[in-house]
Amino acid sequence: MTTDKQSGIIYGINGSVVTGKAMRPFKMREMVMVGNKKLIGEIIVLESDEAMIQVYEETEGLTPGEPIISTGSPLSVKLGPGILTNMFDGIQRPLKAMQLISPVFIPDGIGLLSIDSEKLWETHLTVKVGDQLSGGAVYATVPETELIEHRLMVPPHLEGTVVKVKPDGSYNIEETVVVLEDEHSHRHALKLHQIWPVRTPRPVKLRCEPNKPLITGQRIVDLFFPIAKGGTAAIPGSFGTGKTMTQHQLAKWSDAHIIVYIGCGERGNEMTEVIEDFPKLIDPKSGKSLMERTMLIANTSNMPVAAREASIYTGITIAEYYRDMGYDVAMMADSTSRWAEALREISGRLEEMPAEEGYPAYLSSRIAEFYERAGMVETLCEADGSISIIGAVSPAGGDFSEPVTENTKRYVNTFLALDKNLAYARHYPAINWMDSYSGYLGILQEWFQENIAEDVHTLRNKMLNLLFEENKLQEMVMLIGEEALPDGQRWILEVCRLVRLGFLQQNAFDSEDTFVPLEKQYRMLKVIEVLYDQGVDCLKKGIPTTILKNTELFDGIVKMKYTIPNNDLSGITEIEDQIERYYSELIKQYSEQEDV
């Protein structure tokens, strides 16, 4: 054991929390190694001689009196090539490397592992001796995957002149490729990686307005409740309503450059599913496998709870690192409730005073701090980058008034409320259009007008209003039956049924419907509007709803998601023509009858 490492001793053990004595030389939030097994932990309370440590591994087997060893640094991640396509635990230890130590089960006491330090990367140096570099400047690039160029950046807060540069070549991440001399003539070795403490947000130059949509290919999201690039969204819903499916859909199809997917206290099989499926899925834009832009963090529900608390920070720090390179990053956290529960469990073991439902009083500020790390920014190297955060929320008993949902609602701008009854009826995605909202509509309006159509927003509002109307009418129907309603109202019910079946329902398992380009989304909704308007004209002429409802026409609209290919929308124009023909014919017939 090296002598310069400080050491304390274990005093008590209570689940994932260990108390240490003789801890005076330690720092708050320092990473430590606990016990003879050298379990990884972090100091979360420091009071004179005593410290409380949350331990990221199984604590069974620890004995009071065993040593606690200082590492001198806070809980950090290693940032460099080798992150993408990999899966890590909550403190960035690669699960693949763990398999070599223990083939099936997660071992403990394996110390700190991180990204592969031996793998050689084809490195291109982009600076020369004499260049002035400051924090965020790119000094080398590496093709990390077929899809993503990894840009190595001078760590924030560092500035200086290049005094040495390696030639282009194959290097591992420990290799020093550039030496920088600062104004005090201190030399700094720049390697193919940097270290960053997870609880400190990485600095940016400027925060900007999130005025572009994160295009997800999911109709109800993109047109009804859009998420901005650099925005925040929450997906709350009780069990089995489709949080994970929606997160997977967004991870697969949204137009971000990088996906950071955190399985936070959820199922092992869901992570395995991503590992098995993503490599086979092809990104529609690049033609490359989706795995090439994805990294995963897995702290499954049965893994140590303290690492669950850390997993969120590990994930967001990695997201920030790629953002700093000038990428749009989308981060999914499934589920933030499990993270909040980890906070609660640790807080309980610390015997802190609980606030609502046993959660600590700082729950709200922690949630806020997390979502505030999202944003559209100008990076230190003056590139545009963004992090969009999409968090699943798992409210106990499906009750949205519980503390985690309530507090999340305060800090996110898009709220996609999943509905048990829709899920029971297998209306997927089970996003309830009455309870969901997006705060980005206004900011994104210009983008939609320029890129899709002048009337996207008016169309959306009109259709959403019809759905609100439908909701009221349905209450009436439950009392008097549909047939007792006046014709105008029955027409609304018919059209809304089309909106629900033909537009809002989207089949994640159908190869055509799983991702739909904005253009088609808009045209699909537009068709229904055309139908509605034509019907209203007919109604004014006194033509009854029963005649307006042409089965063939309606069927064509319900099935257009399957029958009209995403890359050829001529079929939609045909349907529109059919509608016009059918109803003008009707009006003609009807006025002829009147004339007679």
Binding site: Y11, G12, I13, N14, E60, G61, L62, T63, P64, M87, L95, K96, M98, Q99, P103, V104, F105, I106, S238, F239, G240, G265, R267, G268, N269, T272, E273, I275, A298, T300, S301, N302, M303, V305, E341, R344, E345, G348, P354, E357, G358, S394, A396, G397, G398, K420, Y424, A425, R426, H427, V477, M478, G481, E482, L501, F509, F554, D555, V558, K559
Partner: protein, 458 residues
């Protein structure tokens, strides 16, 4: 010789506290021997603070006093010996033989807590298991390696349904040689345990069964170890011996009550309904042990049974379970009262693994769409029934009347089947299609014209 302790400082329900301990580790097993009767109780260290150890005792603590026992620490965590000789045997909730047979000998001792499976080492489960029960096979297909709980209520026929699944389901490919059942009874009535024993006998699988039993009148503290003993055995048989293991566990509700009791004895801040805040993580350490791995041909399919207090699906026990398991089979009291067996309430029921284990090459191409259509139509039936209660069935529209009829037929013929009726998946799918003929074709919005053409009988 390790130190022994002659004094207990505090006794509180299942918990005892001993001071001045040395060299004891977190999770270590303790033996508390009565000086009066020689009886030995087993416990486990659940908290250490300096020289104070808090021990959870698995047998009743009554009769213990501050100075009438000797406590020693074994130097071991809670482990059990594992071998294929477990098959056909019966143990109590802490893994001691209770069938009069010998101790199991093996040089392989495993920690009953197990360890989390590395997600990289898992294999995503995709193999369909035919249970012969239409509603399950078509609408919430069971997959080998899945954890699929049965959400029941007091007095509902969950035991019968489970017995039917056990006797009809075939887990092993082709032959069933490599197949076994682990049954964990947690706080169950003697009657229930007899019922299962009889069911195993009738299915002719008794020597392929391992039982871990904690009766309703056995100590509550033992309830927290019963499922762990069972799952340790399951992991061994599946992942070391390569067997197809079905774990049946009843009743998770009793397990959770055990947790609550210990938590409250520890003065922990309770979460909803007095259950501890860590119940989600705790249940996950049971449920997540199901699955399949790359290293072995074996699998653990897990059917936990729980009774929902007051039939309330939002109660923390079913709620937290549903958040961890891969779906649920929900039994409905109303169906049961109307004489439908098995009374499976299909709308809240779900199998999450079904999507990858059905369809062409697994069951039949139409399976997913047909299932969606049946779900959608049956959920419409519920709306129409509400309406008919207000208006009377006679005043319903023709369309609504057809839904009423569909609902009746669906419940009687599709959900309803006898305890011994074993339907093939093809029979079940065809039955689903034949029921859809009751509805107008225009209502079949979940089915493509191609499928309708091919499968809808007219």
């Amino acid at each position: 010789m390790r130190r022994e302790y002659l004094q207990i400082d505090r006794i509180n329900g299942p918990l005892i506290e001993i001071t001045d301990v040395r060299d004891v580790f977190y999770g270590e097993v303790a033996q508390i021997r009565s000086r009066e009767t020689g009886e030995v109780r087993i416990g486990k260290v659940i908290k250490l603070e300096g020289d104070k150890a808090l021990i959870q005792v698995f047998q009743p603590t009554h009769g213990l006093a501050s100075e009438n026992s000797i406590t020693g620490f074994t130097g071991n965590a809670f482990t059990l010996p594992m071998s294929k000789n477990l098959l056909g045997r019966q143990f109590n909730g802490i893994g001691e033989p209770m069938d009069g047979g010998p101790q199991v000998y093996s040089n392989r001792e495993v920690n009953i807590n197990g360890a989390p499976i590395n997600p990289m080492s898992r294999v995503y489960p995709r193999n369909f298991i035919q249970t012969g029960i239409s509603s399950i096979d078509v609408l919430m297909t069971l997959i080998r390696g899945q954890k699929l709980p049965i959400f029941s209520g007091n007095g509902l026929p969950h035991n019968q349904l489970t017995a039917q699944i056990i006797s009809q389901a075939r887990l092993g490919e082709g032959s069933d040689e490599n197949f076994c059942i682990i049954f964990a009874a947690i706080g169950v009535k003697h009657d229930d345990e007899h019922f299962f024993r009889k069911a195993f006998k009738e299915a002719g699988v008794m020597d392929q069964v391992v039982m871990f039993v904690n009766y309703a009148d056995d100590p509550v503290a033992e309830r927290t170890t019963t499922p762990r003993c069972a799952l340790a055995a399951a992991e061994y048989l599946a992942f070391v011996e390569g067997m197809q293991v079905l774990v049946v566990m009843s009743d998770i509700t009793a397990y959770c009550e055990g947790l609550r009791e210990i938590s409250s004895a520890r003065d922990e801040v309770p979460s909803r309904k007095g259950y501890p805040g860590y119940m989600y993580s705790d249940l996950a350490t049971l449920y997540e042990r199901a699955g399949m791995i790359q290293e072995s041909k074996g699998s653990i399919t897990f059917l936990p049974i729980l009774t929902m207090p007051n039939d309330d699906i939002t109660h923390p026990i079913p709620d937290l379970t549903g958040f961890i398991t891969e779906g649920q089979v929900v039994l409905g009291r109303e169906l049961y009262q109307r004489g439908v067996y098995p009374p499976i309430d299909v709308l809240p029921s779900l199998s999450r693994l079904m999507k990858d284990g059905i369809g062409e090459g697994y069951t039949r191409e139409d399976h997913q769409d047909l299932a969606n259509q049946l779900f959608a139509s049956y959920s419409k039936v519920m709306e129409v029934r509400d309406l008919s209660q207000i208006m009377g069935e006679d005043d319903l529209s023709e369309l609504d009347k057809s839904y009423m009829e569909f609902g009746r037929q669906f419940e009687q013929h599709f959900l309803g089947q006898s305890f011994t009726e074993n339907r093939t998946i093809i029979e079940s799918l065809d039955l689903g299609w034949s029921l859809l003929t009751i509805l107008p074709k225009t209502e079949l919005t979940r089915l493509s014209p191609k499928l309708i053409e091919k499968y809808l009988p007219y």
